[in-house]
Amino acid sequence: MAKSNKPVVWGLFAAGGTVTAFLTPALVLLTLLPAFGVMPEVMSYDNLRAFVSHWFGKLVVFGILFLMLWHAAHRLRVTLHDFGVRADGFVAVAVYLAAAAGTLATGYFLLRI
């Protein structure tokens, strides 16, 4: 029996799961609070651009989005199997390609700021 290569994607899934568990609710609040009359200072155009212009800001944004995308991709692959879809080869390629596209897009937009 050959040892699997799943550790690669599972490792990203686990890291992403941990990061999203700690950060996602607070991050959602940042974009949700404005609708309830509370505008976080960082959400103003000037402040956010300043943060993302800095190399550290880029690193943080890239890291979080990268892990979110690959966590969701791997879990979605497993979930589709749980829902009865039996096309794992195709599904795996599709979800990881989507995560890769999202990763590239993140990098692209970050470099333009």
Partner: protein
Amino acid sequence: MSAHGKPYVREVSRYRWFLRSPRYMRYMVREVTCVFIALHALVLLVGLKRLSEGREAWETFLDNLTAPFGVQLQLLILAFAIYHSMSWFNVTPKAMPVQIGEKFLPGAVIIGAHYAGWFIVSIALLFLAGVF
């Protein structure tokens, strides 16, 4: 090992297996949180794009976020994100037991530490973001 006659194999429905018990249903809810994490990533990615396009594009993005559909979507994302966080922290002691000498750290301690960390990180993030 079938000494007399053919054994009978009971089929498991690949589409309806999880309807068989509340335990399986809770598992599926946990798994489906990934859809909302993906949606959140999409929201952030679109926001990043608008941020790179200039002030007007960013203001339009904020308008979309505060519109009814934007709020409803985010509330849904928030609910599933919280379910993800809780289900993740609750199983951490199983995946990473901490042995000290001959005893193991009680699961409740490990879980409690994660919830405390979650609270601290969230407050810190909101503070640094200038919410208060």
